[in-house]
């Protein structure tokens, strides 16, 4: 299957991310993101052909929230779809938007991800995903100590712990430059050890400070066809390609396929990326905890040995470094789950479009990578570029 035409992101918007949004109900919060996205794209609601809506099933205990949200999201009288793929929902929305535009079916698609975690009961929702008979009492979502233990086993406790907290601190430094970010803690590098030691343990060496936040928030992204980009004179971040890899088992422990590495290998092979760190300029990673952020860096960038630890130790992933990771502050700073993976795509697009403001990286951005993560071990990767893709890319093998 090949693309009929190119699709690009021409605008994005986000609500403020926060632990509580008592001031707005769900459609009102979504409205904030939609208004900002339309303004950023410099289009009117009338220009939108189709809305894609997604969040985590059951997290707010609302069945078919897309029906009710028409009050605020602009879907009245338009084509629409609701999608939900767990933590990856946001980036699945982006993939679907790309497919709908690239196929020629729609010219302008608005993708909306949201979550109001404060209103619901996330563990109740997550537990529901497992087999009712065998799995429900064991399901914990991203709250697992195995990520930390894996890095500690391989690199020793001291180096592993320092790397995880250095990563965590860098993410906070980035969040401090992103006014939309939820948790901005002003962590200081000189107190890395103390900060970790004083943080309550969750599971094993996964501590509260390493873990992603629970946020309320919404994100909206405008996708447009090649023709529409030209007609509007828009500033585009072109979609090169995307890849989804997942495994369905929840109960296998030990050596497993890395869905991160598998997705990266397939995507990079199709896009002709031989040297990810050189060919890609910035990476917005869905990092549910600092430990997974550290570990997955190696898989996503197809690195071996301790190269990923060195990247952290040598400050390569900082905002002004040679390979910035999560200029936004990432998922540890802000995690409105159904929006989170779409925020990664939006942030990557902002870097390509040069619209990230105070957290715009200093190097020129030609290509940006965004990832999504969800249960059970779903990975979605999307590659964006400043240059319009020349050739038609086969999106499915």
């Amino acid at each position: 299957m090949s693309k009929n035409r190119n699709a690009a992101i021409i605008g994005s918007g986000m609500s403020e991310f926060s632990s509580h949004r008592e001031d707005v109900n769900q459609p009102e919060m979504i409205h904030e993101a939609v208004i900002e996205a339309l303004r950023d794209a410099d289009i009117a609601l009338e220009d939108v052909d189709c809305l894609l809506h997604g969040n985590m099933e059951l997290f707010e205990m609302v069945h078919q929230p897309d029906m009710w949200h028409v009050l605020g999201d602009g879907a009245r009288g338009k084509s629409g779809l609701r999608l939900t793929t767990g933590g990856t929902t946001g980036i699945t929305l982006a993939c679907a938007a790309d497919n709908l535009v690239a196929s020629g079916l729609h010219d302008v698609v608005l993708a909306i991800g949201f979550e109001k975690l404060q209103e619901g009961h996330t563990t109740g929702g997550i537990t529901n995903m497992a087999d009712p008979l065998w799995g429900r009492s064991l399901q914990t979502g991203a709250l697992t100590g195995t990520g930390a233990q894996k890095v500690i086993d391989e690199f020793g406790e001291e180096r592993a712990k320092l790397a995880a907290m250095k990563y965590r601190t860098i993410m906070d430094e980035h969040a401090m430059r992103n006014e939309k970010a939820h948790r901005r803690l002003r962590l200081e590098r000189q107190y890395i050890k103390e900060t970790a030691d004083n943080s309550p343990p969750l599971v094993g060496e996964l501590r509260m400070i390493h873990m992603c936040s629970q946020s309320d928030g919404a994100c909206a992204v405008v996708f447009a066809s090649e023709e529409k980009v030209r007609a509007l004179g828009a500033n585009p971040a072109w979609i090169v390609d995307h890849e989804t890899v997942h495994r369905e088992e929840t109960m296998v422990f030990g050596s497993m396929l890395s869905t991160q590495r598998a997705a990266a290998e397939r995507l990079f092979a199709r896009a002709g990326i031989a040297n990810p760190r050189g060919d890609i300029d910035v990476f917005e990673m869905y990092d549910p905890s600092a430990w997974w952020g550290v570990d997955w860096l190696r898989d996503f960038l197809l690195l071996e040995g301790d190269e990923h630890l060195k990247m952290i130790e040598n400050d390569e992933i900082v905002l002004d470094g040679p390979f910035p990771v999560n200029p936004s502050g990432g998922v540890i700073a802000s995690n409105p789950i159904g929006a989170t993976a779409l925020v990664r795509v939006a942030e990557a697009a902002m870097q390509v479009r040069g619209t990230a403001g105070a957290h715009q990286v200093s190097k020129p951005v030609r290509r940006a990578l965004a990832s999504g993560f969800g249960g059970t071990l779903w990975t979605v990767l999307m590659l964006l570029s400043k240059e319009k893709p020349e050739r038609r890319v086969n999106t499915h093998g």
């Binding site: 009102e28 059951l58 205990m61 605020g72």
Partner: protein, 160 residues
């Protein structure tokens, strides 16, 4: 089949709902003042009750255009509930009606008490009966009752 087991399960899924600044203003006025507030879209002219932050048609911001509508109105649709379920607001049979308040363009759903449920009619004139002890929810209006003398003439919402 005798050997096919069924496992009974039960999950508690608690939730909260944040009414937001707009919804809260509506609920507080209902509880404290027995007033029914709405918002008017300055572009479409629509008066929304309950109020909304934005117009779903034209996306205009509405929160600068509060109005007070009447506690009288007209039935635009109804159903007679004849079966019993836990958590129902009252014992069946009873009437659930869509009621367009005078001055509003959108109906609200509420209980209609009109004696025999068979008497309920689209177009029936009704008025709100407020509860004695009111909490910040739609049941601050206990129910609607028939208002045979009422007419819908000359009702325009009062600007706040």
């Amino acid at each position: 089949m005798n050997d096919a087991f069924v496992i009974e399960g039960k999950m508690a899924l608690p939730y909260q709902y944040f009414a937001g600044a707009v919804g809260s203003k509506f609920l507080v006025a209902l509880r404290d003042e027995k007033q029914i507030l709405g918002v008017r879209c300055s572009r479409c002219g629509m008066v929304f009750v309950p109020p909304r932050q934005s117009c779903e048609r034209c996306f205009s911001a509405l929160t600068e255009h509060w109005v007070r509508v009447e506690s009288t109105g007209e039935v635009t649709g109804f159903t007679v509930v004849r079966y019993a379920e836990p958590y129902q607001p009252k014992k069946p049979p009873y009437v659930l009606a869509l009621i367009k308040l005078d001055g509003a363009d959108t109906p609200i759903a509420h209980l209609l008490e009109c004696g025999d449920p068979g008497r309920a009619r689209i177009g029936m004139r009704v008025r709100a009966v407020f509860a004695g002890e009111r909490r910040a929810n739609l049941l601050a209006i206990a129910h609607f009752e028939e208002d045979p003398a009422g007419t819908q003439e000359g009702h325009s919402p009062a600007r706040l």
